[in-house]
Amino acid sequence: MMSDDKIIQPSLAVEIAGLKLKNPVMPASGTFGYGEEYSRYLDLNQLGAVVTKGMSLHPKAGNNVPRICETVSGMLNAIGLQNVGVDAFLEEKMPFLQRYDCPVIVNFFGNTQDEYGEVAARLDDVPGVAALEMNISCPNVKHGGIIFGTDPKAAFAAISLVRKRTSKPLIVKLTPNVTDIQVTARAAEDAGADALSLINTLTGMAVDVKTRKPRLANVIGGLSGPAIRPIAVRLVHQVVQAVQIPVIGIGGISRAMDALEFLIVGAKAVQVGTANFVDPNAMATIIRGLEEFCRDEGVADINDLIGSLEL
């Protein structure tokens, strides 16, 4: 509740699917490595959670170069989900993260329903893994490479399978590259997701007009950064209305004001992606900014802001 009293220390703590976060700010998968890469610049314990680079059953080498390209207020990437694979992750990367008391959310993907299930199972009893984030923006190789997240039936089946193979809180990360995101959101909820996160990158393309070649070796890539924020806010707004489970907002957040937009439309937490590249301290600055905003606006508990959109 808004109050007239001076707020000394506003509470930023939020809870998502039983997961208690000291604040609603965490990195977006693939923009923060395995945490270690940025640990010199930022105290990971300040964060609401750490979210790792997407993990698959087997190591993945990724795409040919060029893999990235700057665009107006954004960037395209086609990294190709390069990662060390779940076993190497558990052996080489997880011990570092276990030294922190910040919850670790492991992002993962598969190219078949069974691969999704297998990765989830291997992560299930790992201490320190607080939750799983399932990236469904991946081609379903058994079904002509159609992206799981754009096919509500395939998404439902894969999520239902993962649900059976994990006892951890399950966050499903939605792709914005669909006609009606409310349909996929409901499919994910019905399949047993505990929370949703959105948006993953929007597909895009750029051309070098002199060489007449695409700027990415993969031709098409994913657009991220400030350019996508209004689309992301709109999609979060729509998803919040369609489901009962909590939603994590992602897309173009680089300042506290950006994060607040998502919280006000109803996101329980936010993820910061491309902004980490621009400023390794971005998340710490955003957390401080949220605190200041609450203090200035007389908000004692950030939960009072969540979903406070006035229509």
């Binding site: 693939g30 610049y41 080498a61 170069v65 990235i68 390209c69 700057e70 960037m75 990437n77 400023d279």
Partner: protein
Amino acid sequence: MNNIKTIVLSNQEISPGYFRMKILAPGYNKLASPGQFVMFRVQRSLPPLLRRPFGIFRMGFMPADCDNMPPKEFIELIYKVVGSGTEIMQGLHQGDPVELLGPLGQGFDLGEPDEEKILVGGGIGLVPLYMLAEKMVDNSNVSLLMGGRTRDDIITVTEFERLGVGTYVSTEDGSLGEEGLVTRVLERKLEKSPHATVFACGPMPMIAAVQKICLQYDTPLQVSLEALMACGVGACLGCVVKGAGHTDVDPHYLCTCTRGPVFKAEELDWDKDEMTVRTSGGCR
């Protein structure tokens, strides 16, 4: 390694299209080694969104503004204006705020003392070689082979000479030094001193040609590469190059920002021309 909010100390055009920027950089003299780079944030507001990678040309101390203050630490960048970010950079003045993330990456391996060192620089690729020369001149015989398209691309050679480095200049149009490619000069040099180590930085075709020559003479080679970078710290995986043993079925990628930008030639996959990074990745 750190991100510092700092200011420009000076910024001058040293040759048409080439600028030299001095930046206040506390801590760098202790931390940075030859071949390392910084991720430079051109301005706090957008655009451009991403930081730009630049090699460190030189670092040092300058007198403080008043007696009871410690001397000011600086680094110098030399950059060529090629796109949106460097266009903004050329307009920066003394006192303008900028941010430096660094020093980053693996620099040069200084090798054995006493053995002969040959530096090969193509145009702006000369930048990381200066601190390397500074470190090596005391105990090795160091020479610099500097190439460019025209005389405008030949920068700071006299500063290498002042260090005691023997310099050879070549330009493609013959407007300064010998006419032709710097690689021809390298071949002649290796003919005489096959036991040297070569350090090269420049455009990819030059680096590829240098690699062929060094292979032929069985001369150890270290190269400094450029790649499109978003983070500079190993998080985005955007900056990879193909490592030795790379095949399409068993790909093997190395991050230029953390495993490089300096690589020993044998760490890389030289067979495919695709190893060439596409420069100027801008979307203007």
